[in-house]
Amino acid sequence: MKLDIQKHDLVPVHEILSEKEKEEFIENLEYDEENLPKILLRDPVVKEIGAKEGDILRITRESKTAGMFVTYRLVVDRDSD
């Protein structure tokens, strides 16, 4: 039986930004895209949603301070960090 990890309580919602969204997002960025927090290509969630290297994920998670918080991560391919 395969477990859908995206349905797990502790896994926040990961979404891949569409080409248009990504363009818009990068345009409004006040810093370099490379400076975004990273997520590994071999991360289970990344594999699950089928993101590619260079994609940007929108992660919506519950936050103790802000209720809901949206953050973004850049998918990278690395052996280890």
């Binding site: 006040e30 810093y31 370099d32 400076n35 975004l36 927090p37 936050s63 301070t65 802000a66 918080f69 953050t71 973004y72």
Partner: protein, 933 residues
């Protein structure tokens, strides 16, 4: 100080090994004699103190560079070792390299394909500035072959006996043999093994020549007796030279191989300990006194090493340290500085035409009269000390542009600090107030942020030297700016102890003062004198003088008993419900929840809505008033306060007896096997939990009974509350208001101390199956496991006393361990977080610009400015609105002021100047007019 101001930027740092040629090239002199000075005290040529190595004494000239001591940086010498010696730091690397290369031909134990593969991997990493450690590890793993792929020779196992003994099979390799083997490795093989041939060769890890550091690195100390004491490094170098010399002599004399090898090993030992005297497997070299020598590695390593102690830690001038003592009469913003210190530490002040007369006065006073001056810096930068004899001459020269290093005087900004500096409130800026005697004086309200008390604590003061620093300190480091703590958005600086019990005693209903007394209180708290009303004043009216006119709030005081049958609110018999309407204290009393450190609600409101200056003024004035009030009423406590009537005593022992019986019953059911285990627990655990619960309840009940009887109320009129508490009992007053101690403390004194615990459970150690020999084995009763029936007042019996000491000791050990652990944890946290920064938009990045958080704390809230961490405190807003809607007259919107108007600029009187297109405009009373220059 260097004036030329040449700035060089470091582009790159290369690390490599020093080749013997490099060491020799660097060397200005070959050291041969193991002696330092001759009988006349002159350094011996070719000795360890050879004048070519540099000089320390400013009266001598260096033989190499010609500079005098102090300017000469020192020059390296060298020792030619009679036989090669392995460098301790590289024993491991040498072993790994030898293991990965052929014993016979010296080629790397990889076939050509593998070599090329790894080479490309390393090249790739270097190009991309990535770490090659993992690849090198891979190489070492891959190069484990039994047969050499190049020459076909079988490989013998190479082992290392740390730190420097390397064996091949059963044969112990000498350092010379090791060096030969390393020499055979080709440059391209070395590259794959992690040794960059551009900066290092493997054989350089075996020393043939030893650099000798200049004397400036190892200065000798002349003792008062005239005796010379050499540095540890010099001692070690002497040892190396001696053995080296003996080795040479023996070899020349053709001594037997055995003796030469012994001496060689001794040389290896000395060189090893010269580098690292704490290498494992090597007994540390010792001084004659038995103290281990501090050699090269020890100079750099650890907390006392060069990095953490000298490079990361700096020592400063213009600082002072002394014992602290309390002074309730100075503001929280101030610090009392002893005159003695004020005359020693100085503030550099530029002379200008407006302050020249003042400066002249300081110089005229000289260095020994208080508002004086110690030094004057002339226009040419020369610094002249002010003496009584020379001050006339200095006064004549003095003109604008000079710098006068004048004494500290009232109003100067200084930094004040108490270690351990655990948070930013451990170092705050205070205003100086020069006072007699020899201790620093500080207001009691700033004890909590510094965690200071007066049992001998010392604190440090730093005098700010530049105007920028002064301005910055004044705007962000001042005490008043730290009243609200960023740890929990509430006040950390606030009233403590007597302020709180005083606040309670003088604001409760019974406190009524004649007008004379009231005015005395007002005067003592430095408030503006109100108009006479020819009536008595209540304490609440007096306290209302401190509150801003438009303050509206209500909250429950610390004395609130959380009545189960619903809160009576304003009609609370305990006066625990505080209502402030338009700056009038309508009902309730003032205690810890009003203006205490940590939970003061009024203080919190004033700090947030009226600003730090207003909060400081409120705190200074209200604590003055509370102290004046408590001095008028008087407060005292003794053991009589913990007296309870016989009747209470009987009820308590009844309860305890019942609890004991319950415990015995539980034990019986357990023994008979009828005890039902709780889910997820064993029978034993269940029993233990039940017993602890029963005993805990019993103690709580004893406490509750005691509380009821406290004070043994005889005079009903003294009782201010509808039941229970006698607030004429000052111990109870202190506990209930939050000034000091708790009701638990009081009931432990009066009724029953309760269960003693170790590791969160009943006491369970000592003899086999029992704690003390007074009990039967495996006894499970209350008394046998550390329940203390007695009270502190009645005294503990010997067994109880022993249990109590056990529990007490655990507390002590715990605190000691906790501080050490949390200290290290904090160090790691600080190191991880120290260079994160928040930009003006709330973006959190590290020093490379990598984003950590897109919005600080995910909600962008500054905890110091929030309501206890939340963005808004709805309850607070609502309760304020309630009071507002109840009040008939609307709030006066006048700026809050007590004695004077602080800070809040009045737009009517303060015109604003603006620059538009190069012209200046004045905005005043809503009108804008152009200003001609």
């Amino acid at each position: 100080m260097r004036e030329d101001g040449i700035i060089k930027k470091i582009k790159q740092i290369n690390f490599g090994l020093m080749s013997p040629e490099q060491i020799r090239k660097l060397s200005v002199v070959k050291i041969q004699t193991p002696d330092t000075y001759d009988e006349d005290g002159y350094p011996i040529e070719n000795g360890l103190m050879d004048p070519h190595l540099g000089v320390i004494d400013p009266s001598l000239k260096c033989r190499t560079c010609g500079y005098r001591g102090g300017d000469c940086e020192g020059h390296f010498g060298s020792i030619d070792l009679a036989r090669p010696v392995i460098h301790v730091g590289f024993g491991d690397v040498i072993h790994k390299i030898l293991r990965s290369t052929c014993n016979d031909c010296g080629r790397i134990l990889l076939d050509d394909v593998e070599i090329e593969e790894f080479k490309q991997k390393i090249d790739f990493c270097k190009e991309h500035d990535e770490n090659i450690n993992d690849i090198i590890k891979e190489v070492y793993n891959a190069a484990k072959k039994n047969v050499c792929p190049h020459c076909g020779a079988e490989q013998e196992d190479i082992k290392i006996d740390k730190p420097t003994t390397i064996t091949q099979g059963d044969y112990k390799l000498t350092a010379s043999e090791v060096r030969e083997k390393l020499e055979r490795i080709t440059d391209s093989d070395a590259y794959v093994l992690g040794v960059n041939p551009e900066v290092a060769r493997p054989e350089w890890m075996v020393l043939t020549v030893l650099p000798v550091p200049p004397v400036t690195v190892r200065p000798s100390i002349t003792l008062d007796t005239g005796e010379r004491s050499e540095d540890d490094l010099t001692h070690k170098l002497v040892d190396i030279l001696r053995i080296n010399q003996r080795l040479i002599e023996n070899m020349e004399a053709g001594a037997p191989q055995l003796i030469v090898e012994d001496l060689w090993e001794l040389l290896q030992y000395h060189v090893t300990t010269y580098f690292d005297n704490e290498a494992s497997g090597v007994p540390p070299a010792r001084h004659r006194s038995g103290r281990p020598l501090k050699t090269l590695a020890q100079r750099l390593k650890g907390k006392e090493g060069r990095f953490r102690s000298n490079l990361s830690g700096k020592r400063v001038n213009f600082s002072a340290r002394t014992v602290i003592s309390p002074d309730p009469n100075i503001s929280i913003n101030e610090v009392g500085v002893p005159e003695m210190i004020a005359k020693e530490v100085t503030v550099p002040t530029y002379v200008n035409e407006w302050n020249i007369d003042e400066m002249k006065e300081y110089i005229n006073n000289g260095p020994n009269v208080h508002p004086g001056a110690n030094y004057v810096i002339r226009l040419d930068g020369r610094k002249i000390r002010v003496y009584d004899e020379t001050k006339e001459k200095i006064l004549e020269q003095l003109k604008p542009g000079f710098i006068v290093e004048r004494h500290l005087h009232d109003g100067d900004m200084v930094l004040f600090n108490r270690q351990p500096s655990l948070h930013r409130m451990s170092m705050m800026a205070h205003e100086v107030k020069v006072l007699p005697y020899k201790t620093f004086r500080l207001n009691l309200c700033v004890c909590p942020p510094y965690n200071a008390d007066f049992d001998g604590d010392e604190m440090n003061m730093h005098i700010i030297q530049t105007d920028e620093a002064r301005a910055e300190a004044k705007s962000i480091m001042r005490v008043q700016e730290h009243i609200l703590s960023p740890r929990y958005g509430g006040p950390i600086i606030g009233a403590i102890h007597d302020h709180i019990s005083g606040g309670y005693l003088f604001t409760r209903k019974e406190s009524v003062y004649s007008e004379e007394d009231a005015f005395q209180l007002i005067r003592k708290s430095h408030l503006k004198m109100p108009k006479r009303k020819h009536k008595d004043w209540t304490g609440k009216e007096l306290f209302s003088l401190l509150l801003p006119d438009d303050l509206n709030m209500s909250y429950r005081a610390n004395i609130c008993r959380h009545c189960e049958d619903g809160c009576l609110k304003q009609d609370c018999k305990n006066e625990a419900y505080v209502v402030i309407k338009n700056g009038e204290l309508i009902s309730g009393i003032i205690d810890e929840n009003a203006y205490g450190s940590g939970s003061g609600k009024i203080l919190d409101r004033i700090a947030k809505e009226y600003g730090p200056s207003a909060a400081r003024e409120f705190l200074d004035r209200s604590t003055d008033m509370a102290i004046a009030g408590i001095m008028k009423i008087g407060i005292t406590t003794s053991l009589n306060d913990e007296e309870i009537p016989e009747e209470a005593q009987e009820r308590i022992s009844e309860h305890l007896l019942k609890a004991e019986k319950d415990v015995d019953e539980l034990v019986d059911t357990y023994n008979e096997g009828y005890l039902a285990p709780l889910p997820g627990r064993s029978l034993e655990e269940t029993l233990e939990m039940r017993i602890v619960q029963v005993l805990g309840e019993a103690r709580d009940k004893a406490g509750a009974i005691t509380e009821k009887y406290f004070g043994n109320v005889k005079d009903e009129s003294l009782v201010s509350c509808h039941n229970k508490f006698d607030m004429s009992n000052h111990s109870v007053v202190m506990a209930k208001t939050g000034a000091r101690a708790s009701m638990l403390n009081l009931t432990q004194i009066a009724a029953c101390v309760g269960q003693q615990a170790i590791r969160g459970g009943r006491i369970n150690r000592g003899y086999k199956d029992r704690v003390l020999p007074h009990f039967r084995k495996k006894e499970l009763g209350a008394k046998a496991k550390g329940f203390v029936y007695s009270s502190y007042k009645s005294g503990l019996d010997p067994i109880e006393f022993y249990f109590h000491a056990m529990g007490g000791r655990e507390g002590l050990v715990d605190t000691a361990i906790r501080t050490a652990q949390s200290g290290y944890m904090q160090r790691r946290l600080v190191n991880a977080l120290e260079d994160l920064k928040v930009n003006s938009k709330g973006l959190v990045t590290d020093n490379c610009g990598m984003v950590i958080q897109t919005i600080f704390g995910e909600d962008g809230v500054d905890p110091a400015k929030s309501d206890h961490g939340k963005v808004v405190d709805l309850e607070k807003v609502i309760s304020e609105m309630r009071v507002n809607s109840n009040s008939k007259k609307s709030a006066k919107k006048e700026p809050y002021h007590l004695t004077y108007d602080y800070g809040k600029s009045n737009p009517k009187e303060n015109p604003i100047f603006k620059w538009v297109n190069g012209e200046m405009y004045k905005q005043n009373k809503g009108k804008t007019e152009k200003v001609e220059e």
